[in-house]
Subunit: 126 residues, 4 copies
DNA sequence: GTGGTCTAGACCACG
DNA sequence: GTGGTCTAGACCACT
């Protein structure tokens, strides 16, 4: 369910967050679906529960998941769409960085746009 | 020349690296141009010379700049284009994350593609 | 594990890099092996953690070691072999210098070749 | 006569020293031959006289050249051969480093030995 | 515990 | 003047 890269620059807990979000976006996880408990997922991934917990807390803060005491953790009914201008600017800046780096690697405008379309399609069709 | 965000999660030295690269890409800095000395830029930005030095050393490793002992630091003659498969995969993954997050914020395919095009144009036309 | 020469012109962090590489090449350090933590090695060598850190970061760039966040640093699974024409020319030039200097000290062709063979054998047999 | 690389890691004055020694070794410069004055060489190379002076001083210390006041600078009559155990150890260590790096780049014993022979031949036959 | 970043300040080699 | 190295010490994020 979650595929971790330990030597990646990206923190483990962030990898969990992102992959959970991707699963939701792709429809693998539907509103109301149960997700593994902190301990179970930690055991499965071979990491400490604290790391999973940190990821779940952030997912809950973003209202992607909901914890119901004594029952477990579930995908939220309505996934929020929040404009949040501040974050948007950050996103754009990061996007700019990625585009710049691709350009440095020899990608021209068309190849970058094609790549973006590809990634988008792949994200929703799975 | 360089505009730092101290509250950003991104390290200062990385911000310097990226903005230098952007300046090169936009043509503000041409091959052979001198860039500010470590001490001068450090003073200007209100940071330690060590931090600027770290950025410059990484830029030199990427062959964006060249340092001439006792003279100063200059934009490299030929900016390298290196495929580097490993890094490319990382870039694509990060791009996927950004696209996913934008989608979560309500951006559809067209708006994302338009945004990417916009960012690209802005990058080369300045 | 590491043997520093403080009076050498060679920076401490470079000495660490080279000796680590030698340990890997000789097989003293195998892929997956943990190497001492930054602080521990710094304490052991009587130097600042920053200096050890600099060495480790360069070793990671060269893909000799891998750092796992919050866990420690380990010998990389697959030691890369990278041609890198630019660096190769530099190496050859340095080799030329060393050969010239040995010749100036009275070494003839045979003695130099024997010396090179000796050093090579010593490097892999330990 | 001297071919400098300004962006090299190696100091300018060391490049001058080494290339002078190579010229002597190859026979381009014979004992008694005059070499350019400090000012003339500095002008020719486009560097400050201080840098050339530093190189000449070191060459004189190594008894490769001799300065005769009012007449100029000349290649020494007898090029010294000094064992100098301390330096020899340093040379061997540097040679070891170069061999290790070549090995890391995929060179095996034979290729390294062949390379050394090549460099040696090239050095004396020119 | 781990490594990563940054500061403040020092010393050095180079040109 | 330039960049490079090192120290001593602080703070942070991650596991």
């Amino acid at each position: 369910m979650i595929d971790l890269s330990y030597k990646s620059n990206q923190p483990i807990y962030e990898q969990i967050i992102e992959q959970m979000k991707l699963h939701v976006m792709k429809g693998h996880l539907q509103p109301g679906d149960a997700i593994p408990s902190v301990r179970k997922l930690a055991l499965e991934l071979g990491i400490t529960p604290g790391t999973v917990s940190k990821a779940y807390q952030e997912l809950e803060r973003q209202q992607i998941i909901e914890t119901i005491r004594g029952k477990g953790t579930f995908i939220a009914d309505k996934i929020q769409i929040k404009p949040d201008e501040g974050k948007l600017e950050e996103r754009k800046k990061r996007l700019q960085t990625e585009i710049m780096e691709l350009r440095m690697m020899g990608y021209d405008k068309n190849r970058i746009v094609e790549l973006v379309k590809e990634i988008y399609e792949e994200m929703i069709e799975c």
